[in-house]
Symmetry: C2
Subunit: 471 residues, 2 copies
């Protein structure tokens, strides 16, 4: 028998896992190499990897079953806009001199500039102080109770802060039996929700309460409850991500309200019509209340790793995970990275990411619905392919898909829903949040819009807490 | 020297031009073949090929220069909705007992069933006859002058027919100095524009004239002229093809009119608001008037081969070519081929293609804008790729692209505009027209919607006429 001779292969097929430089070296020599985009899970941090091994290993069955229930609630929740009412009359836990604000709760000393201005504007609108200095003194002396809207079944966009006399949207989740609230959208211009405390911003708050709310409440009473997510589903077919852009959904709501509005007998009707016609974000707050109602129904599902709360106040960024009850996991608020600024503004003049609107990203809207929106495409690279990539990135950290919010550019499949804290930590991909940008210091108001990447730390902390609870 | 020997090639690369069966045979033997989709121009008919040789040869320079001017007008026309007025007061050439109807002019005996019913409804709405039989007798006796709306600077959708007392939309093309008109959209249900002559259809015509038009005219006077194609451009970003679907553009119009409507002091306002809120096709007629104004401006450009008129009456289908003046080239109306029917209906109960709305396909909307519309996708195959294919097919017969109607799914490039009669005949591809379908015989009204392929014959005839003129 002749000895077998070692032969080198004629052809080499290279699969390169991880860093692309090894594949690049092969390609530089004229051979082909396929790159596999792989990274060490959770950045290779041992305590995170151990927790992931537990949550994807022994605990996986319990978690997946629980997540199925949380996903069902996110997908089947039926938020109905049923009334516009006064906050102190309907929002639980509001008494005396309380101001509810966006994001996690925090100490007054830590409030960012735009939110400080908005709180002072709300204090003035309530009649508790005649000017910003007096408002500042009153708050500084502890004369006002400040609390997170989220902890009162409510969400408010950007730097919104409102007091007990304010009108709120009341949304009832008929399937879950729970209720959520949002402020009325304050419109464009010099407005408190953009961090402005100038007299016209205070006047807008008073006008919304005394003029707009009664007219809108009367029209809504005539109309009867409105299926919020039915309008949202149509809007997603019409280019809204229903976060950064709510033009189509606002118009659908106006079309629905038109016959009822014209029958409201009020001298304020013409001004309310002017306001509605000029405010393409009017539906934003309606959608947020709907998302909050659905996310709250999906919360407190034992063992679930689905994120059910995500909120920012310009100082901190917090999330809540279904299986961990009402507990917030909090870190610093990130900047808004992929941004388009108004002329004369830039990162250096921008406040960090702010507002409760990120709840939309948890129910399949905003960044999850980017692929539906030509308007969002301009913020994430310019082409629909870029917008689609944003949605596909959300896919990687979401446990399910919406059965009602459909993406035309992806064969009418549903938007990703149910952010799984395990996937976020494993892949180090956090939700992309479509959002506006406020001036950092001078009360100018909105200076741009863009996409914020949620900070990883609070997801890591929540994942570790879930592992500890399930141990 | 040794003789060279003939060697067969080791590899064969096959390019197959025309019929795919030759390529199939190569592929069946395991080899590869690239198919080139090529057909004999104009079906190989000698007189058509000769004319094309002339129009693409010696005459090409003159034609292309003329088409450049026609395209500029199609792309830069600025139609402004400036008033709602009574037909006899503003539409030229309307006097006495005149009814204007969709499509090319034709003899009463040739009118299809739905249009006959609509004409009789219009006669009753004018008060010229008390019932359908009396109306039929009056028309049969020559007591009513019937004429094509298109020949009076007007367009009307589906089986619309209207008399001198009817309200019309007045659109002024500010750049061209010309004016066009359209009827008011009659809304859904038992309505004359769907070929219904029941009492409620006649009542709708009377109500539109006596109640809706005064309210809308007053609101429009308050608003001032409205830039029709600005709304259209936004609507194309919001899923409208602005022919089969006009939901987004209708809502944009309603949002714009809202402040003006609520200030109109009229007891009819609530009913008008009900009508507008329930009529997602209200903007269709506005867009048509805009398209007519622009197409008319682009007409009568000497030497131009661009199609500037396209209309159907359920019996005949006619086109006009810019370089051939006002002359119509007419053939039989086609069926609506790619159709979705209401339950219980089908091709056998459907009238042929009808209405003037095909003018929209000439200015970059309807079939040209299919790629913008998830709703249209469901009629042309179900996916956005099918909708994109519809637009790309229109590209092949169009000489230019809109600079204002942008397609998100095609990198925000413009919709195809300027159907070139040469390309239609050469490639045997006719415009795809997004349209509704009416019952053929029983006055039921709309029974479906779909896409009609314009018939080739009238394009061939027009192309031959152009060749004769340019000889």
């Amino acid at each position: 028998m002749r000895p077998r001779r070692l032969r080198l292969p004629d052809q080499v097929q290279v699969v390169n896992v991880g860093l692309s430089m090894f594949g690049d070296a092969v390609r530089a020599q004229g051979a082909t190499a396929v790159d596999v985009d792989w990274r060490i899970p959770a950045g290779g941090r041992p305590e995170l990897v151990r927790a992931l091994q537990q949550l994807y290993g022994p605990c996986a069955g319990r978690i997946d079953a629980a997540n199925g229930e949380a996903l069902r609630r996110l997908d089947e929740g039926l938020p109905m806009l049923s009334a516009i009412a006064t906050m102190r009359d309907v929002v639980p836990g509001v008494d005396g001199r309380t101001i509810l604000h966006c994001g996690p709760a925090l100490d007054w000393a830590e409030f960012c500039d735009p939110l400080r201005r908005s709180v002072r504007a709300a204090v003035m609108a309530e009649g508790w102080a005649p000017n910003p200095d007096a408002a500042e003194a009153l708050i500084g002396d502890g004369g006002v109770r400040l609390d997170a809207a989220n902890d009162h079944d409510m969400v408010v966009p950007m730097a919104t802060a409102i007091g007990p006399s304010s009108p709120v949207l009341v949304v009832d989740n008929e399937r879950g039996g729970n209720r959520a609230f949002a402020s009325l959208n304050q419109g464009p211009g010099k407005v408190a929700w953009f961090g402005v405390e100038a007299p016209e911003a205070v006047e807008r708050l008073i006008w919304l309460r005394d003029a707009a709310a009664p007219v809108l409440a009367a029209a809504l009473r005539r109309s009867g409850p409105i299926d919020v997510f039915s309008l949202v589903a149509q809007g997603v077919q019409m280019g809204d991500d229903v976060h950064m852009r709510t033009q189509a959904t606002t118009n659908l709501l106006l079309r629905h309200l038109l016959p009822h509005l014209v029958r409201v007998d009020s001298p304020d009707l013409p001004a309310v019509a002017d306001f509605l016609s000029a405010n393409h974000l009017f539906f934003l707050n309606v959608a947020m209340a709907g998302a909050k109602a659905v996310a709250d129904w999906a919360s407190e599902v034992r063992d679930s790793s689905i994120v059910v709360g995500m909120a920012r106040n310009g100082t901190t960024f917090g999330i809540r995970v279904s299986g961990l009850g009402g507990r917030w996991f909090i870190t610093g608020a990130p900047p808004v990275s992929q941004a388009l600024y108004y002329s004369g503004y830039g990162p250096e003049t921008s406040a960090p990411d702010i507002g409760d609107s990120a709840v939309l990203e948890l129910v399949g809207l905003g960044g999850s619905a980017a692929a539906a929106s030509p308007a969002v495409a301009s913020f994430v690279g310019g082409s629909m392919a870029d917008a689609v990539a944003t949605t596909l990135k959300m896919d990687r950290i979401c446990a399910g898909r919406s059965s009602r919010f459909k993406l035309p550019t992806l064969g009418f499949r549903g938007t990703p829903i149910g952010v799984d804290v395990r996937s976020v930590v494993e892949l180090e991909i956090t939700p992309a949040v479509n959002t506006g940008i406020l001036h950092a210091t001078d009360g100018t108001g909105q200076v741009g819009a863009g996409v914020a990447e949620a900070p990883l730390e609070c997801f890591q902390e929540a994942m570790l807490a879930l592992a500890a609870v399930l141990r």
